[in-house]
Each structure stands twice: as structure tokens, then as C-alpha cells.
Amino acid sequence: MAVVALKDGYTGEVRDRVENFHGNWVTYLHWEDHLSFCAALAFPFPPDMPFGALLEEVLPTYYGMHPDWANIDWSAVRWTLDGQDFTPDPAKALKDQGFHHKSLLRFWTPGLKGPADSCS
């Protein structure tokens, strides 16, 4: 549907277009079943950042304080990227494995559901 506006052909500035982010892509990360992190996290990542940097630096920095973090079996983790099953390659850049500006990466860590299985 098109907006009903006083002026014919009204259109607005796309405020979050990729050009506005100084070469970065906004990327959202979400650890499923751990809602003590209230929402997915948003980061401005350079698209040529390797997935390994996300795994080794970003995730532990922001999720590492959770008691479940140390118990993750990384070989069992399930990932989706923008709703599709995804097998990350740590050596490859984000842009070379299907990420785009404002992609959402979700991951499930089997057997871990926060304190008392509360999904926190």
C-alpha cells in the first residue's frame, strides 16, 4: 500500500540506508532461550569482518557473564541467518556468507535454557 498524503508521490528519506553507517553494516545477534538478554543486540560491523571475530571476540564480550556461557557445546549450536538455517565459516567474511545490512543472526545452544529452564 502507498501512504495517503497531501502531496502526490510523497516519499520519505530512508534514514537507515547503508551509506549512513560509515562503511559498517548493522548486524543483529540473538542468543535464543536466554531472555535475561532482553532483545537481540545490534552492532555496526565491517562487512569484511571474519565470522571468527564475531565468535571469539564479540559474543563472549557481551554474553560471557551468563552462567550458561561456559557450558556451550559449540559443535551442537544451531544458527539461522535471516530465518534460514546457516552454517557459519569462521574464516570467511560476513559479506561472503550471506550477511547483508540489518541481517539477523539467531543461535540456539541445546540443553541450555537459563536458570531453572526459565529461558532467561
Partner: protein
Amino acid sequence: MAKKKKMGLKQKYALLTRGLDWETTYQPMDKVFPYDKFEGIKIKDWDAWEDPFRLTMDAYWKFQAEKERKLYAVIDSFSQNNGHLGLTDARYLSAVKLFLTGVSPLEYMAHRQFAHLGRHLRGAGPRVAAQMQSLDELRHAQTQIHTISHYNRYFDGFHDWQHMHDRVWYLSVPKSFFDDAASAGPFEFLTSISFSFEYVLTNLLFVPFMSGAAYNGDLATVTFGFSAQSDESRHMTLGLEVIKFMLEQDEGNVPIVQRWIDKWFWRGYRLLSLVGMMMDYMLPKKIMSWQEAWEMYFEEQGGALFEDLARYGIRPPKYHDVASKEKDRISHEVWAIFYQYTHAAGFHTWDVDEAHKAWLSEKYPNTFDKLYRPRLEMWKGMADAGNRFYNNALPQLCTTCQIPMGFTEPDDPSTICFRSSEYGGDTYHFCSDGCKDIFDHEPEKYVQSWLPVHQIYQGNCGGASVEDVLKWYHLNLGTDNMAYEGSPEQKLWSQWMAGRHPVAAE
């Protein structure tokens, strides 16, 4: 000489709204009133408008002046008697800070927009009603600022509410809500604010705040609430009148109005999740739970309203069933957001004590012990170990309501509800089907959303570090923000209360 008979109110009102109006001849009416047709609402007879109050200007001034006199007498005495010492606890003030920074600026915005309508509606009756509401809203903004200013002398976070409203991340929620309404045409604005907000949802905003104030010794807020009460009932009546007027004027108006009701129900409901959090978590002395308020004020009262509107072909707002499914979780989900981002907020949050947890458990038997108690206990454990939990990354926001995407699937309270749309080669994310529908209908509007998190990453908010951004918000670091435990406000309050104990012990 025979004395001229004084006119009655009804006669004066008729002259004001009919007798003083005319059809323009030098310029076509469509040029004089350029805004009231493009939305597609057809009005055949503006004179069919019936204002149930039939208030004239002189009567209006008289009533309002009387209320002002009372209000200022009460707040003078409140201030002279150190009324703030009668609060149940300084934690209560987080609710007032949220109100002053989130709601009072909207009163001012309502003043501006009703002034616009008071000029631009074609019928003199609705124009006069809009003018009076414009004055009411200005008065509400003013009385709120005056009464709440008392707390600014003693407590933190009250010092720059308008500046904060325009910049702080969570205040973009109420700000963008109102900007959305004010940038629509006049009929959508009336549907959004007068009907959906002031008629359908108002009891879920004002009753919690005003009763919360009364229960917690906040005479300042109670006073402006009382002073606004008769205005609010006028606004509610206007809201219903506007809807019926549009629906009666032309059958073609029905689907347009229905879509607005759907949209503004959802927008308003999402905004009220902040109120739910306030009710369930911020009031030291509770009034009722969010769930109880939703059942009473929306499911029961709103249900009756929509039965009444069914004869016009109007059905209950889309996704009202989703709102009811969420009634036992949204307040907990929103508290989680503010608890972990309280280092970036202009008010405090705290670890919930045992009595409070017992209350939540009783009010939310299906969700609290299973989903939220373990979370609160984990956080308490972290705080006790000296690692109070603050989330140091920024959250993903919904493009439409701008709330961090912390709401869960309608049928699964343990999984975040992720929705998205593609438009013009970009992806947009939403917290719900309700917010997605709103975007999909008018993407040209919402691609412009000023999302605070993205604005920070674009470099538009004072700098790259959290500290830079908070300074740009005009937050005083270490006093306005962070946990209540250990805050200067808590220290001050404890000192004051300790000073009272010798007297209380006698």
C-alpha cells in the same frame, strides 16, 4: 427601558458555533481548509456535529480559572510542608520521572496539534471543540511541569525533561508515537489521539498514574490529575463523538476509520507497555496489576464499546486478541529492558525484594514463577556478587514502535517475536504483526523512523561511547542513571528516613 434578556448557555453556544461561521467567497473553501479532504473522509454536513458539552468560551474560562486557583493553593501547601517526605519511597519517583519526560511533552504536542485543528477543520462546532482542547492540553502541560518541579529541588533526573524527550532512546517511543499522529491528516489524528488514546486506552494511562500517586503519597501528581479530570472527560466525549460523526456521514468512511482504529489501538497498546512496567515494578505500594487493569479497562469496558460500534460496521481492533495473550508478560519483558539498560536511563531500577516477588507471583500465577522469578533471582545473585547486570551492547529496536525488541511470540512467551519486511531493497524489523502491518501499509512514512540505536551508530548522538551519548542526552552520570541501590537518591532518602526513626520509636 426594558433590560435586554441575557442569553442562555445553549443559545450562546449555537451562536458561537453556527452564527459566527460563514462560507468564504473571495477564496474557495477548499483553499481555506486544505487539510480535511485528502484522507478520503467524506463529510456531507458539518452542522450535524453535536458537541455534547456545548461549552462557551466565557464558561470555559470560568471553570478553568477556578480549577487553577485550587491547584496552585494545593501545590503551594505541598511545597511549604515538604510534601516529598510523605512519599512511600524514593523509588516511586522513577514513575514520575518517566511521566514528566515521556508524557508531559505529549500534552504540549497535543496543545499544538489541536490548535492546528482548531483552525483547519471545516465545521465551526468541531473547530471550537478543538480550540478548547488545545487550551486544556497547554494547561495540562503547564500544571504537570509546575507540580512536578517540586521534586526537582531534591531528586535527580527531573532537570531537563524536554531535551531528554527529544533525544533519549526510550523516549523516542512516546515521541515517535505522537509525531506519527501529528503528521497524519486531521481525521486520523482525531482517531489516534481523541478516540484510540483518550477514549479507548486513557484509563490505562491516567488511572494507573493517578491511583499510583495517591497510593504512594504523591500529592503533586494527584493534584494535577484531579485538575485535569473534567477536561479528560470532555476529551473522551469528543473522541467518541468524532468517530460516530465520521461513521454517520458516509459509509465509505467506515473502512478508513477501521484501519485507523486497528493501527492506533496497536500503537497505543505498545506505548502502554511502559505503563504496565511502571504499575507492576515501580510502585512501592501497588494498585493493581497490569493484567487486572487490562481485563477491566480494555477487555470489559472496551468490549462494551465495540459492541456498541458494531452497528456502524466497526469491529474490535485487529490484534486485540494478541494484546490479551500478552497481558501476563509485557510488564515483565519491559522491566527486563529497563533493568539492564538503566545505566542509560534517566531513572533508577532495582532488585525486586521478596514481598514484591510474592505479589507478582500471586498476580501472575501462570508466568511469574516459571519465567521471571528465576531471572530476577539470577540478577540479584549477580548484584550481590558485585556484578550487577548491565547490558553493554545496544538492543535491536522495532522500526514502528521503537521499543527494544523484547516482546515474545503470541503463543510462546519464551521466544522473541521477530518480524521483518523488505522495502526498497532494505530490511525492516518489527516486534509484532501489529507493528509490521503499520509499516507495510505506509512504508514511505516509517522508513524515516529515527531509531536511537541506529542514530548512535550513524554518529548523530554526541559521540561513539556510551558516556558521550549520555552527556548528549543531558543525563548526569552516576546520579540520574544506574541502579537505585547505591544511588545518591537512595542515600539521601535513607538519611531523611533515619532522621525520623527516633520520633517513630517513641
